[in-house]
């Protein structure tokens, strides 16, 4: 199983190879991987349907106890089959949709990576593995949304989706860590059995809120819903795949997975029902005021995601089962509709429902698929959407606060009927307009996906048993954490309140659609086009972030060397002094030995050099004076028996002076620009720094020498490293890894300076 999940990561780079004459079959070639994975998953269908759970495990970071483990039960299998099954169709479709576009290989590279990440996410066996794949889906979707990166809109949308989902991802990581710590294990196998412990744990609410932060951003719940419609900048196959079937359902998957652990509390109920209900309504309402097919579909997707979260929040067995049916129904009809929208765009060059007219005559197959899918979305029999909607009503009617919930579901149902009508009625069945006559017929690859998905919705509606017993039952058991109970799926439940509600929804929806034009006269505020809201908040946030970055750069990275030095020295002195005072350390002056002539001479030389450097009228002489100080220090090293240090110090000082000389003579002539006040300030800082260093030296002397490793090095230098010079042996043997890092840095510095100067020279020539 591990190899099946990771196959996508290894095979994705193949997409970047030039295909030459077989480029026409690119979509089909790339569909082979998801197709193979689908067959692989189907092979496990029987075992999973009998309630077995397959676990594969590979040690990954043994130090932290993290395994790369995968976990296949009914719930993961349902999602995995959606990912690979729809993935197969989308790959075939994308091959035809993007044929002839530049950088198609890169597109398939990211799409394959995305598919593998998504598969890893739903099959992950512990929360940390899940998190890694979760972030990988965010990253790959960033590249997919921004595929047309030459358009400003696509870049903005990609960044927006990344920022929103990555911020949520950060919250999610924290939440998962909290849960893992509280439950005492990160594996789902452990976690799922610790629900009682977790719900009683004091960290429960914090963990829940953080996890919801991740799930809600990923699944575009209000108030984070705005990124999903923006993401429609992506090529249509991406919208169909990521933004309706797979990635946006990751949050739903996560909450479904964790329902047996976190669910059933009142916090869970109100948070999920509250946000889910709000999203259900908001999405459906905003969908009505769009004219671009993809944006209508995006908002109805937001609505459906809200419905799924609402159902998970209710959490009764009926509600959880309804969520599964709704999930499957939505994937089938929304996938079909998105692919249809793309095919229409490809054939006609427009996706505007106000422009398109009477396409049914020229695109009969697409029209049939779109109609079937839209009817499923509207919840009409005999499609799976009808079964799902009935289950939704049944769950809402039996929930606490039934009146309110049923009302929300009813209103959103009405809105969705109108949105479905908006999508197909005029574009496909109105009297055609002459201006759109010129269209080129879509190739089979473009209509195959929609037709198969729509047919799937019809087939599952007519014979729900097909998916109930093998798949949904096992998924239901994973959700409820209980035994295998077949879902109650049927087209006909007799005359009851639910059927009445269905009929009322349909009637009101049709009436709403017929009166849409009248409603469009509502003030723009009511149509969601106002200048406030979450999207506006996001814009303000991003602008604020840029502003903050700009201001702090102006303050801290202003390009004046002296303010950097002042900051560095100031902080070092301040923090050290703070520590010293805090610990009450004050050195006693040690009894100084009688200074010898040599020491006195060197001290005098250093002092003279320092004074000369401070009062020197030119930079060059100051630098040379500084060199004198360095030489003086080196002489002290010589005197106290550290010849290697002295040698290094001598050469370093020489090189420093050479470098200074080379760079200084390019500077303008030295002018004493700084005022008395600034000179005074610098003097204070300098004296403070020097004084503190002196203090530290005295403290070190007081503490005495004797390091614990010194003896070890002295003893081991010859037997272990064949050397006699301890300093060199430490550098090239005992701590060779450090040295390797240092010379790598040194090389980079050399390359950096070289590049910097070359760049400037190049800029000067232009």
């Amino acid at each position: 199983m591990i190899w099946a999940v990771l196959a996508g990561f290894f095979l994705a780079p193949l997409a970047l190879l030039p295909l030459g004459s077989v480029a026409r079959w690119r979509g089909g070639l790339h569909a082979l991987l998801p197709l193979g994975l689908t067959l692989f998953l189907l092979r496990h269908l029987d075992a999973v349907a009998q309630g077995r759970i397959l676990v594969a495990r590979q040690p990954w970071v043994p130090g932290l106890g993290i395994d790369l483990s995968f976990y296949l039960d009914g719930l993961s299998l349902l999602f995995a089959l959606l990912i690979t099954g729809v993935g197969t169709l989308v790959m075939v479709y994308a091959g035809a949709y993007l044929h002839g576009r530049p950088q198609v290989g890169r597109f398939f590279f990211w799409l394959t990576l995305f598919m593998a990440s998504m598969l890893g996410l739903v099959l992950a066996g512990n929360v940390l593995t899940l998190f890694i794949f979760w972030e990988l889906t965010s990253l790959t979707s960033f590249f997919l949304i921004g595929f047309d990166h030459e358009r400003e809109g696509a870049r903005q949308a990609a960044l927006q989706a990344l920022l929103v989902t990555a911020l949520g991802g950060a919250a999610l990581l924290a939440g998962l860590l909290v849960l893992g710590q509280a439950a005492g294990g990160y594996d789902f196998a452990t976690l799922l059995s610790r629900g009682e412990v977790l719900r009683a744990h004091p960290w429960y609410l914090a963990g829940l809120l953080l996890v919801l932060g991740g799930a809600f951003t990923k699944s575009a719940q209000v108030p984070f819903h705005f990124w999903l419609p923006s993401a429609m900048e992506a090529p249509t196959p991406v919208s169909a795949y990521l933004h309706s079937v797979t990635m946006v359902k990751a949050g739903v998957y996560l909450l479904a997975r964790l329902h047996p652990v976190l669910g059933g509390t009142s916090a869970w109920f109100w948070l999920l029902v509250g946000f889910g209900g709000a999203t259900l309504l908001t999405g459906a309402w905003l969908a009505l005021w769009q004219s671009d097919m993809k944006r209508i579909l995006a908002y109805t997707t937001v609505s459906a995601l809200g419905g799924l979260i609402l159902l998970l929040g209710i959490g009764s067995e009926a509600a959880l089962h309804a969520a599964l049916v709704y999930l499957l129904a939505h994937a089938l009809y929304k996938g079909a509709l998105f692919l249809t929208a793309g095919a229409v765009d490809h054939a006609v060059g427009s996706r505007d429902v106000n422009q398109l007219r009477g396409l049914a005559r020229s695109l009969p197959l697409l029209a049939a698929a779109a109609t079937a899918a839209a009817l499923s979305m509207a919840g009409l029999p005999p499609l799976l959407g009808f079964v799902a909607k009935e289950a939704l009503y049944r769950a809402a009617l039996a929930a606490p606060a039934a009146g309110l919930l049923t009302g929300i579901v009813w209103v959103s149902g009405v809105l969705l009927v109108a949105a479905a009508a908006l999508l197909v009625a005029r574009p496909f069945f109105a009297a055609p307009r002459a201006s759109l006559a010129e269209l080129h017929a879509p190739s089979p690859a473009l209509w195959l996906g929609p037709v198969l998905l729509a047919a799937g919705g019809l087939l599952c509606g007519l014979a729900p048993g097909l998916v109930n017993r093998p798949l949904l039952t096992a998924a239901g058991a994973a959700l409820t954490g209980g035994a295998l109970v077949p879902l109650d799926l049927a087209l006909w439940h007799g005359f009851d309140a639910v059927l009445l509600l269905s009929l009322l929804t349909l009637a009101a929806g049709v009436a709403l659609y017929l009166n849409l034009a009248r409603l469009a006269r509502l003030p723009s505020f009511w149509r969601g086009a106002s200048s406030w809201g979450a999207a506006r908040l996001y814009d303000l946030g991003v602008a604020g972030l840029y502003g903050l970055a700009y201001r702090q750069t102006r303050l801290l990275q202003n390009g004046y060397l002296r303010s950097y030095i002042l900051t560095l020295v100031g902080f070092a002195v301040g923090l050290t002094a703070f520590t010293l005072v805090g610990r009450g350390l004050s050195p006693a002056l040690p009894g100084l030995a009688e200074p010898r002539l040599f020491e006195g001479a060197v001290a005098l030389m250093i002092l003279c050099g320092a004074l000369f450097a401070v009062f020197s009228p030119s930079r060059l002489s100051a630098v040379v004076a500084m060199g004198t100080i360095g030489y003086g220090v080196a002489l002290i090293f010589v005197e106290f028996g550290a010849p290697d240090l002295a040698m290094t110090q001598f050469v370093i000082e020489t090189m420093t002076v050479i470098l200074f000389v080379l760079s200084i003579h390019r500077l303008p002539t030295y002018l004493p620009r700084s005022s008395r006040w600034i000179q005074g300030r610098d003097a204070v800082v300098a004296i403070a720094a020097g004084g503190l260093m002196t203090l530290l030296m005295l403290l070190v002397l007081e503490a005495g020498g004797g390091s614990r490793v010194a003896d070890f090095f002295a003893e081991q230098t010859w037997p272990a490293a064949h050397g006699r010079d301890i300093v060199n042996v430490i550098l090239v043997d005992f701590r060779a890894m450090d040295t390797l890092g240092e010379i790598a840095v040194l090389t980079l510095a050399g390359v950096g300076v070289h590049a910097l100067l070359r760049l400037r020279a190049g800029a000067g020539e232009d």
Binding site: M647, H665, V729
Partner: protein, 138 residues
């Protein structure tokens, strides 16, 4: 305009300084010295050449671009560490052999020397890449 005295002195000093730098490099494992100091001495020598004869002349003298010299040194250091991997020991473990050079004596040779040579080259390359670039600027 570089002085004649500087040029002449440089030409006499260079062989001796380079010899000193090689000497420092080779004796590093046993007596004070090593790749770092040796490399710095060599870099200082070439910097002197650069001051006396100009950046272009130093580039010609070096034949290899300083940046490549640094990169090559890094590679040598890495390779010296990789040798021990082949024998199943951790990266950078020292391997030692004995070289009998007849009249010239018997020497212990090991990968640490190779590693030191890497440091030597990196120090020369990185320092000169900065010095020569700066000198070209002016």
């Amino acid at each position: 305009m570089p002085s004649l005295i500087l040029r002449t002195a440089t030409l006499y000093l260079m062989p001796m300084l380079l010899l000193l730098s090689a000497f420092l490099l080779l004796r590093g494992h046993y007596l004070p010295g090593g790749g770092f100091v040796g490399g710095l001495v060599a870099a200082a020598t070439f910097s002197l050449h650069c001051l006396a004869f100009g950046a272009q002349a130093t580039r010609e003298l070096l034949r290899v671009p300083p940046v490549s010299l640094a990169a090559g040194g890094l590679l040598v250091a890495l390779l010296s560490g990789l040798l021990s991997l082949g024998e199943g020991e951790p990266f950078l473990t020292g391997r030692w052999g004995r070289l009998d050079a007849g009249v010239l004596g018997v020497y212990d040779l090991g990968t640490p020397l190779l590693f030191d040579l890497g440091i030597y080259l990196v120090v020369i390359g990185a320092t000169l890449s900065i010095v020569v670039s700066l000198a070209e600027e002016s």
